[in-house]
């Protein structure tokens, strides 16, 4: 079934703010040269930590698998270049906590030599089974490159019972400042379209809708041309209005297809799979060239850098080096934000590596990212309710998160919050609403983990008590048996006729002996 009038629907709420994209849009700063030392985190995705396959001292080649997946939701990590493994240890990573995490440290040899065991390209993918192609996507370590980094192989496996109607390709890029997807669509539309061909075959969708915000006319034109030149007949480029958060998965699906993703649900439940344009291009590389995901386009922008633009960066390169390569910090540099100004988080240190999830390094000036204003009491104006694209009640959630009433937060669908930041943006009292929701979310997860651990401990304790009781019972039963056997033995002595006969014989012999002695004595 084909969607009629795609893009004619609307999502609730959202905000308009200056997109600030002109600074970096369409500007390409080249390919980041490989540094001497790469720090490659084992966790660059949602899911389980990858398990290292190499040890310090090993020589590795470009594209070689460094760490493998251990659970269904996960992604392998590959070597971005050839070189030697120096160490596997905890290194600072880009995370709001500022914590360190396990990383593989690779010293590049400068040869950049490809691994000779890379799998073969699959240009005949249309004759292949979708499961084999999913396996290839999994091998390539592809994750959602829009920033969330959810493993793509899991996403394109909706299960046999779910018929996928629409493949949505997300080129909305609604977050201000970021232009890497825009640049990719302008220059490599063919690569994206090739990926769409592969994905259409993998998920067996009826149609593909490419959603692009109307502030990117060059990208729309390039994508339209590429689609027209291809043999894809059910693929359409749909221009959507520029409004944050248009690029949110649920929002874009709503606008394009009119369908709403259910609460706590995933798009596959309503027959939709949504992937970012850069992810789609990475699928092309994996299938058509047999190459894993080794680098990505990163936007470096903001008033705090001298030369904003987009560049291709291999994973593991330090953010400080990336910024230095583009032309360094300007005098106005005040804050380094990973991601955009709405959903990104401030980094305390630029000595952390670029990962699969790094879409933008925003070096903001004091004016661009002012320090948070002092929050004032909530005046119940209801602006947050109007702005919330998930149609939640941010004000109620705020009360309950603030008073740490986690059960109530759940009742108000805390986990449907996409942390887009619209509510905080419109709040006239400058209340950091999203921070409260993030706090409540992680707190709820921790409580749930604690509860599970307590249940497990209870189960183990009960099993132990039962075992000890059983052992005690068995010991007592054994003792009783032994005792009974002994009693039987003593009691049986009298009853046994054979033994009695022997006893009688012994007695007779003793008597005879005594008689003999007594008869001999008088002599």
């Amino acid at each position: 079934m084909i969607t009629r009038n795609p893009g004619s629907w609307d999502f609730h709420g959202g905000i308009h703010r200056p997109d600030m994209k002109a600074m970096s849009a369409g500007r390409y700063l080249g390919k980041m040269p490989l540094p001497q030392r790469l720090v490659i985190p084992l966790q660059q995705h949602i899911g389980s930590l990858a398990e290292p396959l190499v040890s310090p001292g090993d020589r590795v080649f470009k594209g070689q698998t460094l760490a493998r997946v251990t659970e269904y939701i996960g992604a392998p990590i590959h070597a971005p270049t050839s070189g030697t493994i120096v160490e596997i240890s905890d290194q600072p990573v880009a995370h709001p906590s500022g914590l360190s995490a396990p990383c593989i440290v690779l010293e590049a040899d400068g040869e950049d030599r490809w691994w000779d065991e890379l799998p073969e390209p699959l240009p005949w993918f249309e004759e292949m089974d979708a499961a084999l192609l999913r396996e290839r996507i999994r091998w390539a370590g592809i994750v959602g490159l829009g920033g969330a980094a959810f493993p793509t192989s899991v996403k394109v496996n909706p299960g046999p019972d779910r018929k996928i109607q629409t493949l949505v390709i997300n080129g909305a890029e609604c977050e201000p400042y970021i232009t890497c997807d825009d640049y990719l669509m302008r220059t490599e539309a063919d690569r994206i379209v090739e990926g769409i061909r592969v994905l259409m075959h993998v998920v067996a969708a009826d149609e593909c809708l490419i959603g692009i915000e109307d502030n990117k006319p060059e990208a729309i034109a390039a994508m339209q041309k590429a689609v027209a030149d291809s043999d894809l007949t059910t693929t359409r480029v749909v221009t959507v209005p520029t409004r944050y958060p248009m690029g949110g998965e649920k929002q874009l699906i709503k606008v394009l297809t009119g369908k709403e993703v259910p609460s706590h649900g995933i798009p596959a439940e309503i027959g939709v799979i949504c992937l970012n344009v850069a992810t789609t291009a990475a699928v092309t590389d994996a299938v058509m060239a047999g190459r894993p995901l080794l680098s990505r386009l990163v936007t470096v922008t903001g008033e705090g850098v001298n030369n904003p633009g987009n560049l291709e960066v291999p994973y593991g390169v330090m953010m400080a080096d990336v910024i230095a390569f583009t032309g360094g910090y300007s005098d106005k540099a005040y804050k380094l934000i990973l991601g955009g100004p709405m959903m990104g988080f401030t980094l305390q240190d630029d000595q952390v590596p670029v990962t699969k999830a790094t879409n933008c390094l925003l070096v903001a000036s004091r004016e661009e990212a002012p320090d948070p204003d002092h929050a004032l009491p909530c005046i119940r104006c209801g602006k947050c309710v109007e702005a919330c694209p998930a149609q939640l009640l941010p004000q109620q959630l705020y009360w309950y998160a603030r008073s740490k009433d986690l059960d109530k937060c759940q009742e108000y669908h805390l986990f449907d919050c996409i942390e887009c930041g619209c509510c905080s943006w419109v709040c006239p009292s400058h209340i950091p609403l999203v921070q409260y929701y993030r706090f409540a979310k992680t707190e709820t997860w921790a409580k749930e983990k604690e509860r599970q651990a307590a249940e497990e401990a209870k189960r183990r304790h009960e099993a132990r008590v039962e075992r000890l009781e059983r052992l005690e019972r068995e010991r007592k039963a054994r003792l009783r048996k032994k005792k009974e056997a002994l009693e039987k033995k003593t009691a049986g002595d009298a009853a046994d006729p054979k033994k009695a006969a022997i006893d009688a014989a012994v007695k007779r012999a003793a008597e005879r002996k005594a008689q003999k002695q007594s008869s001999e004595e008088p002599k």
């Binding site: 002092h374 009491p377 950091p432 992680t442 707190e443 307590a454 401990a457 209870k458 183990r460 099993a463």
Partner: protein, 188 residues
Amino acid sequence: MGIAILTLATLSALFGVLLGYASIRFKVEGDPIADQIDALLPQTQCGQCGYAGCRPYAEAIASGEAEINLCVPGGEPTMLAIADLLGKEPKPVEVDEGSQGVKKVAFIHEEECIGCTLCLQACPVDAIVGAAKQMHTVIVDQCTGCELCVAPCPVECIEMVPVKTTLGTWKWPYPDEHLLQKPEEQAS
């Protein structure tokens, strides 16, 4: 007058039969209150409350023998939850300030372990593996941090170590309350 007495007598007889039937038909096995209290306890099985484990303590609270503020690992949240459940007055929990908040698990210095199996017998959740004259080790994921294994060790090779925060267990902090000022404070 006679009719009123007759009506009341009939009603009471009827309800008596109904209640009697219900008590047989809907009989509840075990003690549901103890189960509910047990579900609130942290299941560390540490015995710091003076009972042999979480279940015995829950039963003691249910029967009214024990106070509700004896659970040390559960701390104040657990006490409040029990008070809430039973409709009792909250009572302060006596805990050392320093030891609260950070979860600890047992760690066996394996080079010092003599393989005496005493800690194995002490662990309430079977979270230590080992055998006689073999090195013992703690299954970290299963350890409840009850510290019951520390005292029996004759060579003092068991140490309680704080659990490290990882990216997976890290929590967003509670937003800075100092930002939430009253307008007059801000003006000054």
